[in-house]
Amino acid sequence: MSRKKEKVNVNKKPLGMRIWNNRGFYLMFLPVFIFVLIMYYWPMLGIRYSFFVYKGRDIHWVGLQHFASMFSEPEFWIAFRNTLVISIVKLLLNTFVAVVISIFLNEMTSLFCKKFVQTVIYLPHFMSYAVVAAIFTLFLSTSSTGMINETLKSWGWIETSIDFLHSTKLWQPVFYIINLWKETGWGTVIFFATLSGISPDLYEAADIDGATRLQKMRYITLPALANTIIIVLILNIAKVLNIFEPVFVLYNNRVFEVSDVISTYVYRKTFMTSLPDYGYTTAVGLFKSVVGCLLMLGSNWASKKIRGRGII
């Protein structure tokens, strides 16, 4: 409020004088400005290559040909479908489990145990995807050092080793479980922030009315979280197309049809091809950026509608 008042007062001075008065701030912003210009805006100029063939030294205009070949390429559509399926299932699963965990952890009576569990479940978030992939690849390996297969065999649950990460049937479930292990705990942080804001009066009132523990969870805790759940979903739906690292570290050429996402498709077409056409992969990237941008604006709109405040 006070700031707005100031603004009105300052506006009375001439523009040139105001700029001169703030010269120190412009100087401070200069490094940020130059950095962003080079690292973010310069690459945007490269988008023009989506309309060119760019193979080695051969660069020539082809118009919309890349987009035509992209949309008629079955591999691209597989990648597009996988991107949506993998990110959305992962998002819903992680959010659901995080909500359940936060509601039940909130019921824990001992503060020490609560803090302890929180500390532990946040841990895997600080490991990189490369590390998590390495751990689970080793655990799930079919060789004699693969702990999970050997344990299951020794318990007599299975006869032969299961190749979890190379089976098109099992890859996605295993991927979701690994992601649950890594990110669910961290996902509870935002729900805890909300839960700590619930007024204890509500629970006391429910106590007096004779509500049971489960009733209190169902009718007080869960509704309080509803808004946060929607916000988390909206925030993340904008980023569904960006998924790269989680998939890249776990996938392999035997499960492309269930694991290839747009970013890994772009990567593969560029860096694992002998003479890549940068033009084509830029076009795929542009498609991704545009859809991502629309999703972002859409969720910003939804967020404004629901909580009266945008996400950007």
Binding site: V36, V131, F139, G285, S289
Partner: protein, 340 residues
């Protein structure tokens, strides 16, 4: 061999049982505590007021057994959950000290060795990436903090002409990007391909963290700025004499966010760097485990021991810092969450 295995197994199981019993005891204690806490209150109510309050006490007492069942189930579930998180990590740590390849579900090394770690420290092919990881993490954190604080501070100057242009200038980068390939081509022109400084520059600017910083600065009372201005401080002087010393907590949590990002970054290396002496440790670990590109070692350790030692090295810095700095690890997110 099998005997040892079994012994180890029973031992570890016994240990696990002991832990569970301990935790369950704790759970029961907590329940008792609660019951005790309820009773004095009830007693106080009885003393203070007349017979009206008696039915309320009865209700609480009648409900007590139900609460107990719920609590025990709840604690049991969370003990299992904690084990699900901790066991894989513990298994990795224990196997990194085990000289032979690892079979089955054993939670203690049966041939203890430090060979895996010694190999990493003495093989330049592995040590160099580890060093690169440290260098880039420190440099990336510093650069990121400088950019985020400068940007956040300037975006808070509401009377500055062009402020909203600057914020849109930054926000556009959050919504739209050139994409992987145009970025790669630009970095190639700048000579940053196959150069580990790409890791620093790639994470040097993070608009989300900049906005967090700006939100934090907004909480500093405006009167402090005005007082400093009256005393003749330039914007830069206000920045490093008043703003920065007041934001140590925010600097710590945002600095940690940068450090975690740079240290854990694998995909940037995968895309931009191909020579091994410019790679970071995450990349080297991945190459080692997935592609089986393991350096020869003079120590008598199996390959998987080396892998597990590598994993421990890759997570150790933050695992060590985490219990002490957990507050800072989590505040960054909470600042954002509260603002929402």
């Amino acid at each position: 061999m099998a005997e040892i295995n079994e012994k180890e197994l029973t031992n570890s199981e016994a240990a696990k049982d002991a832990v569970e019993v301990k935790l369950e005891k704790k759970a029961e204690e907590a329940v008792i505590e609660k019951a005790v806490a309820v009773e004095p209150e009830a007693a106080a109510v009885e003393e203070d007021k007349d017979k009206k309050s008696v039915p309320k006490v009865n209700v609480i007492e009648a409900k007590r057994p139900k609460i107990k069942v719920f609590d025990i189930v709840n604690y049991a579930v969370f003990i299992i959950l904690t084990l699900i998180i901790v066991l894989p990590i513990w298994k990795v740590v224990s196997d990194s000290f085990n000289a032979v390849g690892v079979y089955q579900f054993r939670l203690w090394p049966n041939q203890p060795t430090l060979g895996g770690y010694a190999t990493i420290m003495t093989t330049s092919k592995l040590f160099r990436p580890l060093l690169n990881s440290f260098i880039t993490t420190i440099a990336g954190t510093l650069l990121g903090l400088v950019m985020a604080t400068l940007g956040g501070y300037v975006l808070n100057q509401y009377e500055m002409p062009g402020r909203s242009f600057f914020s849109y200038f930054l926000l556009v980068t959050m919504i739209f990007s050139g994409g992987m390939i145009p970025e790669y081509l630009v970095m190639k022109q700048l000579g940053l391909v196959d150069n580990m400084w790409i890791l620093v520059l790639k994470h040097g600017m993070n608009v989300y963290n900049l906005v967090l910083m700006k939100n934090f600065f907004e909480g500093i009372p405006a009167s402090l700025y005005e007082a400093a201005k009256l005393d003749g401080c330039s914007p830069m002087q206000i920045f490093y004499k008043i703003v920065l010393p007041l934001s140590k907590a925010a600097l710590a949590s945002i600095g940690l966010m940068f450090a975690v990002t740079v240290w854990n970054d694998y995909s940037t290396v995968q895309i931009y760097i191909s020579s091994r002496d410019q790679a970071n440790f995450q990349y080297m670990l991945r190459v080692m485990v997935m592609d089986g590109d393991t350096p020869t070692t003079s120590y008598k350790v199996s390959q998987s021991t080396l892998y597990y030692s590598g994993i421990v090295c890759a997570i150790l810095p933050f695992m060590l810092a985490y219990p002490f700095l957990q507050k800072y690890f989590v505040t960054g997110v909470n600042v954002g969450a509260v603002k929402e």
